[in-house]
Symmetry: C2
Subunit: 254 residues, 2 copies
């Protein structure tokens, strides 16, 4: 009887929260973005209705318009269904969850936010990159690369500082952004970590620098980390493999 705006985390279903896991297991309807991993959608109960609204959360190319999705959530919620709106990462980090929550509140539909591990932080962390590090990085700025001018304006004051930049949805605009940052005084040797399809079996990592970011090969979706901490990127294979843990039963009570 509630619409849950749920963060699915960066990909690996193990990175879902316990609460996300629980609401997925009782939802009547699950409304899914393209950025949500199939393995997460598979956690919905067998008879749940899955509505795939396509590419809405990514690169602005909407299979279903945001307005249509928001209206759909209001209608479904008004019908007394338990609805999970599942978004990659966190629903409030470039996820348009804020718009959906506002519309649901306006319509008097009960709604609850279930935060998730944002890809902006979780994907670098799994690759060994901390966005903050004592003596190295004391703050971080997270942006969408959708509008390079906006990115450059936001970064203007951070050249030579200890702020880590994290860019999402910036594969298409990385050349323009790199050129702008260099023009604004960023060092060409500034480390850049590129992580494509993070926290999935298709994950690819590459370490480069700002002077070479424009020409670097990188598949979307990717997380791009710019700053000294990026040099800590662990290349695939250098990471300790995850040991096999015993199967445990966890009683997830309400």
């Amino acid at each position: 009887l509630t619409v849950y705006l749920v963060g699915a985390g960066p990909g690996d279903p193990d990175l879902l929260t316990v609460r996300a896991h629980r609401v997925l297991s009782v939802a009547d309807v699950v409304v899914v973005d393209r950025l949500v991993d199939d393995r997460v959608v598979a956690l919905a109960r067998p008879h749940a209705r899955i509505i795939d609204v396509g590419k809405t959360a990514y690169a602005g190319a909407a299979a279903t318009s945001q307005e249509a999705i928001t209206a759909m959530l209001v209608v479904l919620g008004s019908q007394g269904l338990t609805v999970v709106r599942l978004k990659g990462g966190d629903p409030f980090v470039f996820g348009r969850g804020g718009e959906e929550l506002a519309a649901l509140r306006d319509a008097g539909v009960p709604a609850e936010v279930v935060p998730g591990v944002t890809s902006a932080l979780g994907v670098p962390a799994l690759a060994g990159v901390p966005v903050t590090l004592r003596g190295v990085a004391s703050s971080f700025l997270v942006m969408s690369g959708h509008d390079p001018d906006e990115v450059l304006a936001a970064c203007a004051g951070h050249a030579g500082t200890s702020t880590t930049l994290v860019l999402l949805m910036a594969v298409a605009t990385r050349r323009r952004i790199a050129e702008g940052l260099l023009a604004a005084g960023w060092e060409p040797k500034t480390s850049v970590a590129l992580i494509s399809r993070g926290a999935t079996p298709q994950e690819r990592r590459a370490l480069t620098d700002l002077g070479h970011l424009g020409g670097a090969l990188v598949d979307a979706p990717a997380v791009i980390v710019i700053g000294a901490v990026a040099s800590l990127l662990e290349q695939r294979g250098a990471v300790a493999s995850i040991p096999s843990l015993p199967t445990v039963r966890v009683d997830i009570a309400s």
Copy 2:
């Protein structure tokens, strides 16, 4: 046989990831910071050894020094124990996880990062505040308030922009930061959301503005959100209560 650097999320044990829940249930030793909720520590298995290293992650007042904690993790990991290093929020967001991971790697001790929901984003989200919102906030900057001069330097270029500021550990320095931002051209009417002890039964929320932030009452630890999105803060009681969900058994296989 691994040291897990685990994010415990903002407080509510339901916001742990499934992976965090699983490693807690098999750990021989759990090394805990003050900022970790007691309800999360209670998820460790009955015979696990719990080591409370006190105030290390908060405000610089270390009960056990960071160097001692890091050395302890290396020793415990070298003994072939399964160790969970449990931190409030995310281990790589002001959690000193980067230092600990580096030391473990240097010592050849297997280590793995388990990202968590950072309080910087999860606490505002649960209170209805999205750090990004289309047409309102297109980026966000997260900082520790420990060094106000550093905060002011990082924020210098963001006056009048659509960047949301999120401050952690800034209760003691909020007056100095507010004065500095006003002097740098921030509008006194800029909305500020104060959320103390987020995602715990003791949570308190307050909405103010930058002109009144210095004099606002707020208990530590708190998350302070500065920017237009802060005005969306839902006061306690206005939030739809969490409906009672059926108890489900979730098989958490390795």
